[in-house]
Symmetry: C2
Subunit: 323 residues, 2 copies
Amino acid sequence: MRKGNLMSVRDDIKVLDATIRDGGLCNNFEFSDEFVYELYKTNIKAGVDYMEFGYKASLSMFNEADYGKWKFCKEEDIRAIVGENNSDMKIAVMADVGRCDFKTDFLPKSESVIDMVRVACYIHQIPAALEMIEHFHALGYETSCNIMAISQVPTDQVVQALETLNESSVDVIYLVDSFGSLYPENAGDFARLYYEIAEKAGKKVGFHAHNNQNLAFANTIETLSYGFSFLDVTVQGMGRGAGNCSSELLIGFLKNPKYNIYPILVFIEKYMAPLKAAGVKWGYDLQYMFTGLMNRHPREAIAFSANDRGDYANFYKELLDHD
Amino acid sequence: MRKGNLMSVRDDIKVLDATIRDGGLCNNFEFSDEFVYELYKTNIKAGVDYMEFGYKASLSMFNEADYGKWKFCKEEDIRAIVGENNSDMKIAVMADVGRCDFKTDFLPKSESVIDMVRVACYIHQIPAALEMIEHFHALGYETSCNIMAISQVPTDQVVQALETLNESSVDVIYLVDSFGSLYPENAGDFARLYYEIAEKAGKKVGFHAHNNQNLAFANTIETLSYGFSFLDVTVQGMGRGAGNCSSELLIGFLKNPKYNIYPILVFIEKYMAPLKAAGVKWGYDLQYMFTGLMNRHPREAIAFSANDRGDYANFYKELLDHD
């Protein structure tokens, strides 16, 4: 059932760096232009296949002044970093169902430097996601559908969603472990289910991990082994709460010589260490482990961190109280 | 091939807390008596099956004044903590081949509060380990053989070692990922090999993880799923270099209601946070990831940490230079 072994070069694999997008949830998307530009160059040198620049959030729903620019990913802001993007790396943005003015805020692909639009939705939003996917596809973009919080969805609904997506124009279907609650055995089960269904329609499958139980990397390589090709990473795992699968762990693991860990190490030293020193918080800690273990949204754990609490035992009891 | 599923209660499982022993490598075994006593009580409340108190190191090879007492685990020092150990939890100590005066330093089991002696060796020391195992067995102790650095051993030698151990009095055979270089696929392969051979002689199998690539927990539950029953943990993963599988992650995962995560959280808050604040270092970081990735001893990475270096990229290059 596994595709290849630990020595295989899997040419189908695409590494997608989501540092600005998922990491932006840790610092209100307030990255310096230098940071984003250096990350862009780093990713190219490291062999990363896609770089996600942020969200295309609705300017009517969100006040532009309240966020860094990568919450909105205006064409001119991306171009200020990448120019015409004369590289082999593709540019992605994320569009949330219900929080994106998708009909007005996207240029035709021929006029945009963006290559892929990733549509993020919950299971009940699949029909709305499909409308967006067909719109983006008609504009000429590659698309993915990132179904979030899948660990709370009954399997029959997952199957229905996958079969519905098979009939759409979507290119990539993502398994998203929003709560970091999957164990490798679960991730493997999901991976086989997703791959088996998606393969029938020639869709690619991808995985987006969260590190609540220190399993983001383990789950990522588990799904990879069962045919997943789109693999999300962030530098040093920077992402909401416990963060994501680290770029350096996955790039270190991959056997394709096109991938190169060294530029990422240089970037970490120069640009990530100051972020951490400045107090931007993310990464595995007990509060996130609890919400992962309980298969629930990390919002209380994020608040625990934001309030600099260290009373883990009390917090654990609070979480039990809520249910 | 997997034994049970994610809902199973596996009554064969034994959780072994190695915090004082492996964590002692981070602080020269200088734990306060209060720390050790509270950990002892915590482990009992948490349902931990074995607690390892440290090494029985040779008093002729090591100067007693240079180390905390848990490097030597004298009978009176253990008894000062546990009394007669009137609990369901067993007491273990580790004896290193070549660094232990095993013929003189162990009482008969009937006079000792120690239940299990874990013999740690490299593959070429198996004959020496066997001599020790038979000695400890004759004294009345449970024994394990912990073959270290297994990721650098050709498979035919692993098989020979396991078959030799099958003919001994050893109770438990441990797979030890000393360098944190195993991926879950490797760990699974090893687990099936160990289990299949050991089962023929009615031996139990165990796993000791290191967290260099953030896979200690993932590898532990992977080996568990293939029949491993002795599972080593340390509180907050405290152990040499990148540390081990965290007690709280494994206890959180296990479905047997005898295990209880809450006492561990209380202990972490009260006793582990001050250790970290005092500058005791362990846990996942890039320097350990590199040595794990390269399947080599973490000594240079430990020195990198001890020297408070942050030049990850240079260090990575230095490691490449060495080979």
